[in-house]
């Protein structure tokens, strides 16, 4: 996709473009459109096959500024518009189903009014605050006085199915395992799932509001807790956005160390998930082996970087810890050994017909469905969407490294597990390459607030897929707006689709193979 082609197509469709800027939100190009043209611009984007990636709103003097991030061929485009107080914005949801929940989130938190949004129900807001209160508005306090106990959310109007023999199964928010909370509503006939509806938002902690007024360091700490299993990737995306806003270039060694940590994080999570997927279909062998490898792996992360999950190691301007010279050699050897062990275990798994029987064709997301939902990460890659920021819109240090991107079309649990196994090997090779080329020098550039209000975009390939983070700083260099879009925003809806027609007992394994972050999407 070229930005020029998009602008050309908009003009041809008779849309008045109010200006474009290729600098304000590097590497994206911003395109301003008038609010009445908002949906028409999305139709142009859809016709050009752009992927709808994110939406966030921001309060400005006389209304809301709304941003929509689109991607095509590794080029990013941010559509922006201004909606006056009391004015309604045409919804993107009828054009791009992926827009559904992000738009409802903006409606709940900022009072964005949406014309013709097909779903009037609340999303992030449960019963903790009333409909007319929009907590992200500047006039709403972070800590309102006199809040009583929060009522339950049991009046949420779930979609109903009617007919003979249809049963409804409610699950959650407290699940029967060590897992984040959320609610799932199944409609089933016998064991076959007709429909699954997710009700999330249970772990909404007000992250966007908490960010307001923080300094750069404070924001990085918060970003590292958007989703604890992606602490490196989210902190990196936030720091990248901050650094772009402030015009700061972290030293090369810091960038390499960030990538080392990010690849370690990817491997750790994939190890855990492959084991958990196998365990869910009664193949405890894999769980035992892979959790053993994962524990050794996170211990090595702690030895090298001082924290098992590497939390708070990515900081504005660079990283908080250096890698000792000896540790590099140990890490390279460990990555090689791990890749070999995993390959051996995967060979055993592939040899098991009973495992194949449970995982193949289970929870299938067809490539067309994945494309429509804009699914990223292993969910997208297992369903024909071969997109990876590291390869397709590369940032340092990946612009110097070959990044292989596995891709399958089967779209089932087996394919998602296979992508993860492939990615472990690829990341292990990347770790070796990063260690071989690790530059010398400092690991942190001093932070300077930009002299004037500024904004920045961070785009990082986390282990779940693309993370997009928007940051706006005020004239004192304090955070005025922070929006981290976890890849889970795009893969939670995929879970609903891929479960249809499967049996209820296969839900855990389907869910595990997608492994959406609750915290990352609830915010």
């Amino acid at each position: 996709m070229s930005v020029a082609a998009f602008i050309e197509a908009c003009r041809a469709a008779g849309l008045g473009l109010l200006g474009t800027d290729s600098d304000a939100l590097r590497p994206a190009t911003t395109v301003d459109v008038a609010a009445p043209d908002w949906a028409a611009a999305a139709r142009v984007a859809r016709a050009l096959d752009l992927r709808w990636a994110a939406l966030w709103a921001d309060e400005v003097a006389d209304g809301l500024r709304v941003h929509c991030c689109l991607e095509g061929g590794g080029r990013y485009l941010v559509l922006r518009t201004h909606v006056a107080e009391g004015e309604a914005l045409p919804s993107h949801t009828p054009i791009y189903p992926a827009a559904d929940r992000p738009e409802r989130h903006a409606r709940d938190l900022l009072g964005l009014q949406l014309a013709d949004h097909p779903d009037p129900r609340r999303w992030t807001r449960h019963a903790a605050w009333p409909a007319e209160v929009h907590p992200l508005r500047g006039d709403r306090p972070l800590r309102p006085e006199g809040l009583g106990p929060t009522p339950t959310d049991h009046h949420y109007p779930f979609v109903q199915a009617e007919g003979r023999g249809i049963v409804e199964i409610p699950v959650g928010p407290v699940h029967a395992g060590i897992i984040e909370p959320g609610h799932f509503r199944f409609q089933a006939v016998g064991e076959i799932v007709l429909n699954l509806e997710e009700r999330l938002g249970y772990v909404h902690k007000g992250i966007e509001k908490l960010a307001v007024g923080r300094d750069a360091e404070g924001l990085a700490r918060l970003a590292g807790r958007v989703s604890g299993d992606s602490t490196v990737a989210h902190a990196w995306a936030a720091c990248q956005a901050l650094e772009r806003a402030a015009g700061i270039e972290p030293p090369p060694r810091a960038i390499w160390l960030r990538a080392l940590m990010a690849e370690r994080e990817r491997i750790a999570n994939h190890l855990g998930d492959i084991g958990a997927i196998c365990n869910d279909v009664g193949f405890a062998f894999a769980q035992y082996q892979l959790t053993r490898l994962k524990e050794a792996w996170v211990r090595a992360s702690a030895a090298a970087f001082g924290h098992r999950l590497m939390m708070d190691r990515v900081v504005p301007g660079g990283v908080a810890v250096d890698l000792a010279a000896e540790a590099g050699a140990v890490m390279a050897a460990q990555a090689r050994a791990l890749a070999e062990e995993v390959a051996a275990i995967v060979a055993i798994l592939e040899d098991s017909e009973s495992l194949e029987d449970r995982l193949m064709t289970t929870g299938r997301l067809a490539p067309e469905q994945a494309r429509l939902l804009g699914a990223v990460g292993y969910v997208g890659k297992a369903s024909g969407q071969a997109f990876d920021v590291r390869r397709d819109a590369p940032y340092a240090p990946y612009d110097r490294l070959p990044v292989e991107v596995p891709c399958y079309r089967a779209g089932d649990v087996a394919a998602r597990a296979k992508i993860r196994a492939d990615e472990i090997g690829i990341s292990a090779r990347l770790i070796a390459a990063l260690l071989e080329t690790l530059p010398d020098g400092p690991v942190r550039a001093p932070w300077r607030s930009p002299p004037a209000p500024a904004e920045g975009l961070g785009i990082i390939e986390g282990w779940r897929g693309e993370i997009i983070t928007y940051v706006r700083l005020d004239r004192e260099g304090r955070v005025a707006r922070f929006f981290p879009r976890d890849p889970s925003w795009l893969t939670w809806p995929a879970l609903e689709l891929l479960l249809q027609g499967n049996i209820v007992p296969d839900f855990p394994v389907c869910n595990k193979s997608v492994n959406g972050s609750y915290s990352g999407q609830d915010l």
Binding site: H126, A127, A128, W129, P135, L142, R143, P144, L147, P149, T150, P151, T152, D153, P173, V174, A176, G177, I178, I179, E180, P181, G201, Y202, V203, H204, K205, G206, I207, K209, L210, R221, R225, V226, S227, G228, D229, T231, G272, F285, Y288, Q289, T291, R292, K294, E295, R308, L309, E341, A344, I345, A347, I348, D351, S352, E353, S517, Y518, S519, D522
Partner: protein, 169 residues
């Protein structure tokens, strides 16, 4: 099938006992002794994520890996609060989880104990109290033991479980 078994046998090395960890073994031995004497040989924990970033969950999961293998000390995680002796709660309690946490606590038969695991559960951590968060677990239900750390390591968690049992014994 034979090929599978052959491979498992040939890969025998991967099923070797994990490296010894004397500190964990010592903590575990004491836990096991207390479980035997005071909890009829088995301590059942129900984990509740009441708003965590999921970092704490990763470390709680790790307690079940072969390095720690919590079950060998008689401590296991259960699916229902009705089967639990202890609630292990993580996260600042999000206001959306407030009612669910209280109800889960009510469902645990007495005598019952609550462990607040992680900085957020102890004092609200990075999130504190806000329109969306009640902060510390003790702002919603009574807490017996606090395990600080962001997240607490599996070792910290094991030590915290031990601290609870010393108190409860």
């Amino acid at each position: 099938m034979l090929r599978l078994f052959g491979k498992i046998l040939r890969t025998g090395i991967v099923t070797e006992a994990p490296p010894r960890d004397d500190e964990i073994a010592a903590l575990g031995a004491e836990v096991k002794g207390l479980v035997q004497r005071h909890f009829g040989g088995s301590l059942a924990i129900r984990e509740v994520d009441a708003g965590s970033c999921n970092g704490c969950e990763l470390e709680i999961h790790a307690l079940n890996n072969p390095y720690y293998d919590l079950e060998r000390y008689g401590v296991h995680f259960v699916a229902s609060p009705r089967h639990a002796d202890v609630l292990l709660v993580t996260g600042p309690v999000s206001r959306h989880m407030e009612a669910a946490l209280r109800r889960t606590w009510e469902a645990v038969p007495a005598p019952k104990w609550v462990i607040a695991a992680g900085q957020c559960a102890c004092d609200g951590g990075e999130f504190g109290v806000s329109y969306a968060s009640c902060g510390a677990v003790e702002n919603v239900i009574p807490v017996d033991v606090r395990i600080p750390g962001c997240p607490p390591t599996p070792r910290d968690l094991l030590a915290g479980i031990l601290a609870l049992m010393r108190r409860a014994a």
